[in-house]
């Protein structure tokens, strides 16, 4: 199966982004894999083959993004999907958080998604079809101590997406948010053991989620089965926020 359409996926070199890329390729998308991690991109490209097209880029740099957007436009099938997945954490209690730690997280997670969406959205508008999915977090819904910056960035993605939904709904372009709960990734592996077990005790499903379970939700929202679903926040969290 080949959709003859490109999905731009940020943070696609590893973790949840890599699983999203893998899933989208399996259902026929060409994936423009954007990431700063050149070595991980190369390794993933070797693993996933020709439909995983790596682009090394820093999403805090609009000029780099404009170049990548041009290259993708020239080299790949029309862009009809955007997945804002790239994210970083700089956790610390607010009393001790520096303005740099705040700004860095907002700049990558929220403004980065805005930059990437802006750089590629014209193609979707022109095609009069497509989907934009941003990866938020349950932390954006319920908050987490030590993550004022991260939670603000993830909540910001929701407001951005709902507004953009209103701009693009008439063009057949859907804009949705997936809010992962506690997922097995390098990011969550770094958390202290007591935080992990505290989370686990609050998850009705009594286990952590898998990256592929996020990827499945993203692929559904980007599929032709979900054309009338727009502006939603879909928690994929084993019941954590319910």
């Amino acid at each position: 199966m080949n959709l003859n359409a490109t999905a731009v996926v940020t943070g696609a070199a590893r973790g949840i982004g890599l699983e999203i890329a893998r899933k989208l390729i399996s259902v026929g998308w060409t994936v423009a894999a954007l990431d700063m991690l050149e070595d991980d991109l190369k390794r993933s490209a070797t693993e996933l083959g020709y439909n995983y097209r790596p682009y090394t880029v820093n999403i805090t740099d609009s000029e780099q993004l404009a170049e990548v957007s041009k290259a993708v436009g020239n080299d790949l099938p029309p862009v009809k999907g955007i997945v804002n997945n790239a994210g970083i954490t700089r956790d610390t209690l607010m009393m001790r958080m520096s303005e740099d730690q705040w700004n860095m997280v907002i700049d990558v997670n929220l403004t980065g998604a805005w930059r990437v969406t802006q750089a590629f959205m014209r193609s979707l508008i022109r095609a009069r079809e497509g989907s934009i999915v941003s990866i938020s977090s349950v932390v954006g819904l319920v908050g987490a101590a030590g993550q004022t910056n991260y939670a603000a960035s993830k909540a910001g993605l929701i407001g951005m997406s709902k507004s953009l939904m209103r701009e693009l709904a008439g063009r057949g372009v859907t804009v949705n948010v997936v809010a992962p709960g506690f997922i097995e990734t390098e990011m969550t592996e770094k958390l202290p053991e007591e935080v992990r077990s505290d989370y686990l005790s609050r998850i009705p499903a009594a286990r952590l989620g898998l990256p592929v379970e996020i990827a499945e939700a993203v692929a559904f929202l980007m599929s032709s089965s979900a054309k009338y679903i727009t502006g939603i926040v879909l928690p994929v969290d084993g019941g954590l926020t319910t």
């Binding site: 014209r122 508008i125 022109r126 701009e167 693009l168 008439g170 063009r171």
Partner: protein, 79 residues
């Protein structure tokens, strides 16, 4: 190709209208069906094609096909 023809070609492809509908006095919004997103898309196309910047204020004055032509001429674009 004349400036008028180049502009008409952009409008036809962006707004998905017939060439004969693109007359000097045709209103982009009322006659050719452009909504706000179409207008932004069109302005960005004109910027790319003619290598200039169109401010929001300038963009708001471009109501008819003819006003686009005369605006570009005031910017020194002939063809």
């Amino acid at each position: 190709m004349s400036l008028e023809n180049r502009i008409a070609e952009i409008i036809v492809s962006r707004l998905n209208v017939k060439p004969e509908e693109v007359t000097d006095t045709a209103s982009l919004k009322d006659d050719l069906g452009a909504d706000s997103l179409d207008m932004v898309d069109l302005m960005m196309d004109l910027e790319d094609t003619f290598n200039l910047k169109i401010s929001d204020e300038e963009g708001n004055t471009l109501q008819t096909v003819g006003s686009v032509v005369s605006f570009l001429k005031t910017k020194g674009i002939e063809a």
